[in-house]
């Protein structure tokens, strides 16, 4: 079926008053959920599921897609204003977004985040429509060894996360990978690191750990030493330099936006690799390509654009395997898939052949959401800006309560709340001693994918490790990963040598 026919079908489904209102509502709640610290985009989709019970499957997917895209974008608001990523994929946005906002340009930082996010989403939706069959066919050919190599590539950003602190960043990433091994062994099914505790059998829940390490750690930091959240107030705003980003300024970032959009879409398509990896990978790529890498982490606009373009592009990417193969590209896509199955939809390659309106409605919903969400996000950001005038004694406690509810709602048990608190306290000590929390989270997220695929690949090659690593695609990806991992370590040494030689 031609792309134009799919778009036409999508318009017929979406451009009905009731569906448009629903998508608008989905965008609003998505942005709000995403902006609430501790409510991840996955959780936003879970919470929004309740509203789809009375809807038909095609409208449901259009609505959930709107919530998902908007939540990823909404997460950028708190990342910029509070230095708390609303969703894990917004973590790299804090690196430059918050310093820029704290430096007196909150509106500019926010507008870069929101507009590039929308651009990433729109570009990726078009890409999704055009290349779905080809890319999904390529992804289908990937075996365990290639999937291992791809996730290893995701890990290769570790050394770039904090270049002056390589050892501690590597320790953090490895600890994340080790934490991911807690629970039942994915192949043999025996307990690892559970110490007889049945709760640990299902492994370490990622969302409470993320909420704890980002939200609780942040509030504990502020409890001990109040600083960052009070930096961005109206009095400190530089009214001359601050304002919505100009077209000229956006044009100057075109290379970053295009690269991040493509990278985000590709990463989103790969099973297991979602918006978080996309934003980290895109951010570190821009740092490596930059002529002035030292500017990153201190309010560099390209840093914000890279992270936000990529994470929203990944949302469209994650829909490709879901719609064409019936394989979820990430957690949120898995929830959408279960919502459709619940409604009796048969997922798989035949879905697009028999019911192309699913693809059409997802595409049109994404286009509509990405445009509407810019305006909605600005409105929400204004409210969140006002939130800054609330005394921190109230706001800090509210953040803790939202974090508590977010962890509790995951499985309706307080065990996750306790895990969140422990992660938060550990995270405080961890960050105090200079370790890297985003690196730990990256390890935790990628851990199961790396381990399972590596072990499966070795099993398929009957123990021949060399055969796993010498497969053409795997070998290339591993070489790129090693180079990417070593570059931030080797580069300063080479530079130092050069300086010594000139002296």
């Amino acid at each position: 079926m031609q792309a134009m026919e799919i778009i036409k079908l999508g318009f017929e489904v979406v451009f009905v008053p009731s569906t448009l209102i629903l998508i608008f509502f989905g965008t609003v709640i998505g942005v709000i959920f995403g902006a609430l610290p501790g409510v991840s985009s996955t959780m936003a989709v879970v919470l929004a599921l309740t509203f789809t019970y009375g809807l038909d499957p095609v409208t449901s997917i259009a609505f959930l897609v709107a919530v998902y895209c908007a939540a990823i974008t909404g997460g950028g608001i708190t990342a910029v204003l509070f230095k708390i990523p609303g969703t894990p994929s917004n973590a790299p946005t804090t690196f430059d977004g918050h310093p820029m906002a704290a430096g007196g340009q909150p509106l500019k930082a926010l507008s870069i985040a929101l507009i590039t996010s929308a651009l990433g989403g729109i570009a990726a939706a078009i890409l999704m429509l055009l290349v779905t069959p080809q890319l999904s066919a390529a992804a289908l050919k990937f075996g365990s060894s290639e999937l291992f190599a791809i996730s290893a590539m995701g890990l290769s950003v570790l050394t770039a996360l904090d270049e002056g602190n390589t050892i501690k960043t590597l320790i953090s990433g490895l600890m994340g990978l080790l934490l991911a091994t807690v629970g039942m062994d994915p192949i043999y099914g025996f307990p690892r690191f559970t110490w007889g505790n049945s709760t640990l059998l299902s492994g370490i829940e990622m969302i409470p750990v993320m909420i704890g390490m980002f939200a609780v750690t942040k509030v504990l930091n502020e409890t001990v030493e109040r600083s960052k959240l009070q930096n961005i107030d109206e009095a400190k705003r530089d009214k001359i330099r601050d304002g919505i980003v100009k077209l000229k300024e956006l044009w100057a970032m075109k290379g970053t936006i295009v690269r991040s959009g493509i990278l985000g879409t590709i990463v989103g398509i790969l099973p297991g690799a979602g918006a978080t990896i996309a934003s980290f990978l895109s951010y570190s790529t821009e740092v490596k390509l930059s002529k002035n890498p030292g500017n990153y982490g201190h309010g560099e606009p390209r840093g914000i654009a890279a992270a936000e373009t990529a994470n929203n592009a990944a949302t469209a990417g994650s829909m490709v395997p879901l719609l064409s193969l019936g394989i979820p590209g990430g957690n949120a896509a898995a929830i959408m898939m279960s919502a459709l199955i619940m409604k009796g939809v048969q997922m798989g390659p035949m879905l697009l052949q028999r019911q192309p309106e699913y693809m059409g409605s997802v595409f049109v919903s994404m286009m509509f959401t990405n445009i509407v969400m810019v305006f909605v996000s600005f409105a929400v950001a204004k409210v969140f800006g006002k939130v800054l005038s609330i005394p921190y004694s109230i706001l800090g406690t509210l953040i803790l309560l939202l974090a508590t509810i977010g962890s509790y709602a995951l499985q309706n048990n307080t065990g996750n709340v306790i895990l969140m608190v422990i992660a938060g306290i550990f995270g405080y000590a961890y960050s105090k001693f200079g370790f890297n929390i985003p690196a730990l989270i990256l390890g935790l997220v990628l851990g199961p994918i790396v381990e399972t695929n590596l072990r499966r690949a070795i099993m398929l090659e009957q123990g021949n490790v060399l055969a796993v690593f010498t497969k053409p695609i795997t070998a290339v990806l591993i070489i790129v990963s090693i180079a990417s991992l070593l570059l931030p370590i080797v580069k300063p040494l080479i530079d130092k040598k050069k300086v010594n030689a000139t002296n």
């Binding site: 091994t181 043999y188 690892r192 509810i405």
Partner: protein, 165 residues
């Protein structure tokens, strides 16, 4: 610096223990396969190497003539905002099952906001009740997330409030 050193050494000891612990619980390896203990052990070996390097770095960078003294100021620790804050959050998370979301949250709100510097008791009381009510209405009533009801009398009160909505 001493605290950082202690933290690193504690991690090192813990990971060495983990290296042997995983082996104690893993089944016999099958030839031609990577068994369940090998991957964590590979990670632990790398962690141990990097932690040793980090400890060496800490020792190397310590100011000249500085001696390592671990002076435990128990009173200082117990009265620090960090300890009190951590304990409040920890106790709240454990108490939720027993006293429920409504009571637990009102008490926690007052306690933590006081720790963060809010001194007006009347304001605290009003804000804590209003915030708890708003959160309850959004999540429990609006989004059907069944927040903890607590046990005994707390459960009865929670059920009574739920019946109102």
């Amino acid at each position: 610096m001493v605290q950082e050193l202690v933290f690193n050494v504690a991690l090192l000891i813990f990971f060495i223990y983990c290296y042997f612990y995983i082996g104690a619980t893993a089944p016999e390896p099958i030839p031609g396969q990577m068994d369940g203990a090998q991957w964590p052990r590979m990670l632990i070996v790398l962690l141990v190497i990097l932690l040793c390097a980090n400890i060496y770095k800490i020792l190397k960078n310590r100011p000249k003539g500085e001696n390592f003294k671990i002076a435990l100021d128990i009173k200082g620790i117990l009265t620090s905002k960090l300890f009190i804050g951590s304990m409040l959050v920890l106790v709240y998370s454990y108490a939720l099952d027993y006293i429920g979301f409504i009571f637990g949250t009102i008490v926690f709100f007052i306690a933590y906001s006081s720790l963060l510097g809010e001194r007006k008791i009347s304001k605290l009381l009003i804000v804590s009740v209003v915030c708890t009510a708003v959160l309850y209405i959004i999540f429990d009533v609006g989004l059907d997330i069944f927040l903890p009801r607590g046990k005994g009398v707390f459960r009865n009160i929670a059920l009574m409030i739920e019946s109102i909505f």
